[in-house]
Subunit: 117 residues, 2 copies
DNA sequence: ATTATATTTCTACAATTGCAAAAATATCGA
DNA sequence: TCGATATTTTTGCAATTGTAGAAATATAAT
C-alpha cells in the first residue's frame, strides 16, 4: 500500500458517522447490510449515507454489490489489513519483542477493560 | 477507547506529513527524535511541524519530553495499540477463523510483496 | 407504459483544516 | 543580563469536508 492510499483510508475513517459504519460492517461480517439499513441504523438521510459509503468504498475499506434494487455493503477485510500493515511497517526497529507486546493483544473479539491479555 | 478519541487519532494520521512522521517515529523507537530533526527530515518549516506534532501528541499517538532546549518526540505504542483494538472490536461476528486470517499477517517487520505468510 | 422503491448525483453553504510567516516563549552560554 | 538557539503560539487565508434537500437513475411490479 502506498502512502496516498493510506491517507485516503485514514481520512475515510476519521469521521464520526463513517467510523461507526465501518465498525458496524466489520461486526456484521461478509454478508454485509443493504445501504438503506445502514442509513437507518445511523439515523442519517440516505443521500448523506451514500456519500459516506462511497468514500469508504473508494478508500478500499468496504465493498458493495447489487441484488435487484438493493445494494449491499460489507467490510473489505483485505483493505483494513493492508492499512494496518502499512502503519506498522518496520516499526520497533525490527525488535521482535517490542513488536510482540504491541500486537499480541489485538484481537477481533471485544477486550473488556479488566481482561488480562 | 471511545469513539471521539479514535476519530481524533485517525484524523491525526490522515494527513500526508503527519502519517510520515508517525511512521518515522514508529521506526525510530522509544528514544525518539528531537523536533528540529523531524522537521528537517520531512522538509517542512519548524512551525508547521510543531502543529503536526502537537496534533499527533494530542491524539495520543506520540509523546514528548524535554532535555534542556531540545524536545524529543517518540511513538506512543499504547496509543496505536488502543486505536487498532478499537477498530477491530467485535469484528467477524466473533468468528476466530476469520479473525485469524485478518490479523495473522500483520507484522512489525516489512512485508515484501512476494513474501508468503 | 406507469408507478413505486432504493440509491446515487447534483447543488449549495457552513464549518473545519492545512499551511507558513511573524511574534512570543523557553533554555542555555558567555 | 544579553544574545543565540529551539520550539511554540498567533494569525490569516485558501482549500477541503460534512451535510442534506432536490433531482436523476436503476430496478421491479402491475
Amino acid at each position: 500500500m502506498e502512502q496516498t492510499k493510506a491517507v485516503a483510508a485514514l481520512a475515510a475513517l476519521a469521521q464520526d458517522t463513517r467510523l461507526s459504519v465501518f465498525r458496524l460492517l466489520m461486526q456484521t461480517g461478509p454478508d454485509g447490510m443493504i445501504a438503506g439499513a445502514v442509513a437507518e441504523a445511523m439515523d442519517v438521510p440516505p443521500s448523506t449515507m451514500s456519500h459516506h459509503l462511497a468514500k469508504l468504498e473508494q478508500a478500499g475499506l468496504v465493498m458493495s454489490w447489487r441484488t435487484s434494487r438493493l445494494i449491499h455493503y460489507a467490510a473489505d477485510y483485505a483493505g483494513i489489513h493492508a492499512l494496518l500493515n502499512f502503519l506498522m511497517a518496520d516499526c520497533c526497529r525490527g525488535d521482535p519483542n517490542a513488536c510482540a507486546d504491541l500486537l499480541s493483544a489485538i484481537t477481533c473479539s471485544a477486550s473488556p477493560e479488566g481482561a488480562g491479555v
